[in-house]
Amino acid sequence: MGQIKFQLPPEEILAPGHFACPGCGGTLTMRYLLKALGRKTVVVIPACCWSVIDGPVPYSAAGVPVFHTAFETAASTACGIKAGLESQGDHETTVVAFAGDGGTFDIGFQALSGAAERNEDFMYICYDNEAYMNTGIQRSSATPFGAWTTTTPAESPKAENKKNMVEILAAHRIPYLATASVAYPDDMIAKIQKAHDIHGFRFIHVFSPCPPGWKFEPEDSIKISRMAIESKVFPLLEIFNGVDYRLSREPAGTPVTDYIKMQGRFRHLGEKQIEQIQTYVDEEWERLVRKLAPEQHLHQPESRVASKAAKVILAKSQSRKGATS
């Protein structure tokens, strides 16, 4: 088997010279997105880092049409553009809403929820850097427990856990929902391409580290992303129709401390709080495991009960499929 290598589509659509900070995870997300979808793509960007990264007028880095729109309107603008293209007879171009966590979890949420509920035919990518980075690192509902931001200073860091956006969207029963990470580009590209072939509302939640916002050296961007996956902080998964959960990668289960300790935004945390984070991560993982499809439990013998629950879910979803056909 030898070394892990990544087979990515060779075409580079993203141009260099963009305004991203060194080591930006959100920029890698865009690079892989464009590689996966090719040039027949329209990107809708609300207020977020990418409003700046794409470049000042008259420059643009994306290499495909980009529509900059207001903070709360990524999903509704994407709906409109998709409808516009359809009305011109263009059924091929993929419309992608590309928003940060602020524009997804908070400000853009009602437009997003509406589009998901109506099962609009476009792809929504959230590059999640866990705070309002572009405006100067203010907390968002995607900021994890214990993290420093300028609005949750070290003396009183964020007291709430990160909002579980994946679960909220799963509850919308959208056809395709996935999580991805810049450290696993082949997995991300495969998911984007899979989403491309699915009709209806597709949502991909991408873990995108931010060196200045999380306070780490830019060279560690990929390493930190990988640690988030391997420590179960951010599981890589796919959810079909909101019920059929599939794990994309079995995490190594490394302690969260290794992940936490690499980032300045967690520097003020004591052992006790880190332990609290570990407990939360473990509990969330357990909850997720219970939802996995049964064949995913072959290597998880301790969660037999969960496997039963998953079987029930699967049986229900199959009977529903059977009823419609």
């Binding site: 070394q3 580079e12 420059y59 880095a61 290499g63 830019p218 990929i222």
Partner: protein, 567 residues
């Protein structure tokens, strides 16, 4: 269908448009460190006494370019079929994969490459133009062969004087067939001869050939090895039934079968002792190894000890011979004394200390003493500086007598193993080249060696080391068939894939994959090009490189960086 009234941009209401690419914005000016490609040295290469370029020949092997892989090994070692079988492989001890899971089976791969070329007679061309100087080499063991071969490659006429009828020294007469079949040795010696080396058998210096004959040469390399077993220094060791390990193996390798009894006791813990015991087993005898320390301190190769055990060789640790007794001049018993381990000695191993009053007797009809070998230097016409029983040589293998160099087991520089002898021969050839004025002395560039923590192990999923195929024990202990087999092609390729290839870029594209600034691309020749006009110096490429073939250097003038790249 709605109709659009705009046909040109001018007709549209005002809206900011960006039609230019950001490529025009030179974000490279943000950078304060710059990534550069810089290959480093792998620890195995440093660990190999012969200095084989292991990552390079592994890469050729992975591309199934077996002949080129062979040539790559031959640059440093003309006997890969030999070392692939009998080397104690210190390279594997240094392997960065060892602390991760298991070291790569480098010597098995070396053997595979050599065996792929068993029928290949094309040796690399002599690298330099022929020179008029002639060099004499005394002894055709691994040191002599290696030196003669390297001299021939440098264009010299090298003549080896061999006292015995056939060349090879300890390789032929000290190592049994089941570890090193003669046909492998013959093939590789023939290869060496085909480079222009002349071997004169039955030419013992101080015997059939006078030392004065060497005076017509421009330089001499003394590589007579250590072919004489050391004495146990106990009463009765001259009795019938007591053999020395070297003599015993010599006879076997010469096709004779020495007369030995059913109950063979071998004294010693080195490879000669193991070889003697395993040979005795093959002759249908019961063999027991007596060693004065414990298994941990045994100098023999661990795999050989295991093999001996599998074949039924018994071990008695912490015992030393005191006296050999018998009747009518024939051995019947040996008196032994118990030992215990004391403080570490100069070799770093714990010293055996006798336990008083612990003497006991054991019945024995054959005793083989294999407690170490020493060189026979009686043929030298005048006195050389010695250290102990060996010729004292400087780091450049010079003996103090101008033009006379020495190496291998006869000399003080690294000795005791085949690969150390090969190294001595190779390095002495360089020194001789310098002595004869064809090359100036160089101090060599310091190695920047890749450490285990420099390897990005994420890219290397755990995989276990190849299991070396071997013939069944039942068969191995009844004859002199070679015990270990050569890896199959699939096994060799899989094992080579386990190699991290520390420090050498394999063009795996990881750097390119993770560049957020799209600043790394490949040119027509497949080499990476960094676009320094746009690279912001984030360092992800350097940090993610699986094998430490890149580094970050402080931003300076272009000249400074280019200079750094060339080192």
């Amino acid at each position: 269908m709605a109709k659009y009234k705009y046909t040109t941009v001018e007709e549209m209401p005002p809206l900011a448009f960006s039609l230019e690419s950001t490529r025009k914005i030179p974000t490279g000016s943000w950078r304060h460190v710059r990534p550069v490609y810089k290959n480093k040295t792998s620890p195995c290469e440093v660990g190999c006494p012969a200095g084989e370029k292991i990552p390079e020949y592994f890469e050729l092997l992975r591309q199934k370019r077996y002949e080129e892989a062979w040539y790559k090994i031959l640059e440093d070692n003309p006997l890969p079929g030999v070392t692939g079988r009998v080397c104690y492989h210190p390279c594997e001890g240094q392997c960065n994969r060892k602390p991760y899971d298991e070291g790569v089976a480098i010597h098995n791969i070396e053997r595979f490459v050599a065996d792929q070329n068993l029928r290949n007679k094309k040796l690399p061309r002599v690298s330099e133009s022929p020179k008029s100087e002639k060099v004499a080499i005394i002894g055709s063991g691994p040191a002599g062969l290696s030196c003669a071969y390297q001299l021939a490659r440098k264009g010299y006429h090298a003549v080896i004087y061999e006292a015995d009828h056939e060349p090879g020294g300890m390789l032929r007469y000290g190592i049994p067939d089941y570890r090193l079949p003669k046909k492998i040795l013959d093939k590789e010696i023939a290869d060496i001869e085909s480079t222009g080396v002349e071997i004169r058998p039955d030419s013992r210096i101080g015997g059939s050939v006078a030392w004065s004959e060497l005076e017509k040469y421009d330089a001499v390399f003394v590589a007579v090895g250590a072919m004489r077993s050391r004495k146990m220094d106990v009463p009765g060791e001259d009795m019938k039934g007591v053999f020395t390990g070297v003599d015993f193996l010599w006879e076997i390798n010469n096709g004779d079968v020495p007369k030995i009894g059913r109950n063979v006791l071998v004294v010693g813990g080195g490879n000669t002792a193991i070889d003697a015991a395993r040979t005795a087993v093959r002759l249908g005898k019961k063999a027991t190894i007596l060693y004065r320390r414990t298994r941990t301190e045994m100098p023999a190769v661990p795999e050989e000890i295991e093999e001996a055990e599998k074949e039924g060789v018994r071990f008695e640790f912490l015992v030393a011979p005191v006296k050999v007794t018998g009747s009518k001049g024939k051995v019947s018993r040996i008196e032994l004394m118990r030992m215990k381990l004391g403080e570490p000695d100069a070799s770093g191993r714990r010293k055996p200390v006798p336990v008083k009053g612990s003497n006991f007797q054991v019945a024995a009809d054959t005793i083989i003493s294999a407690i170490g070998e020493e060189p026979d230097l009686s043929f030298l016409p005048y006195s050389f500086l010695k250290k102990g029983v060996r010729l004292f040589v400087d780091d450049d293998y010079s003996t103090g007598v101008p033009g006379i160099f020495a190496g291998g087991d006869a000399a003080t520089n690294p000795n005791g193993t085949v690969v150390n002898a090969i190294r001595a021969g190779k390095e002495a050839a360089t020194s001789i080249d310098e002595f004869l004025g064809w090359r100036t002395k160089s101090n060599g560039t310091p190695h920047e060696v890749v450490r285990p923590e420099d390897v990005n192990t994420f890219y290397f999923p755990h995989e276990s080391r190849v299991k070396v195929p071997r013939i069944p024990v039942a068969k191995s202990k009844t004859g002199f068939h070679e015990v270990n087999k050569t890896l199959s092609e699939a096994q060799a390729l899989d094992e080579a894939d386990r190699c991290f290839t520390c420090g050498t870029c394999l063009h795996c594209d990881v750097c390119m994959t993770f560049c957020p600034d799209v600043a790394i691309s490949k040119d027509e020749s497949g080499e990476y090009v960094i676009d320094y006009d746009h690279c912001k110096g984030c360092g992800i490429c350097v940090n993610e490189c699986p094998r430490e073939a890149m580094e970050l250097v402080p931003e300076g003038s272009r000249e400074e960086v280019e200079e750094a790249q060339q080192v």
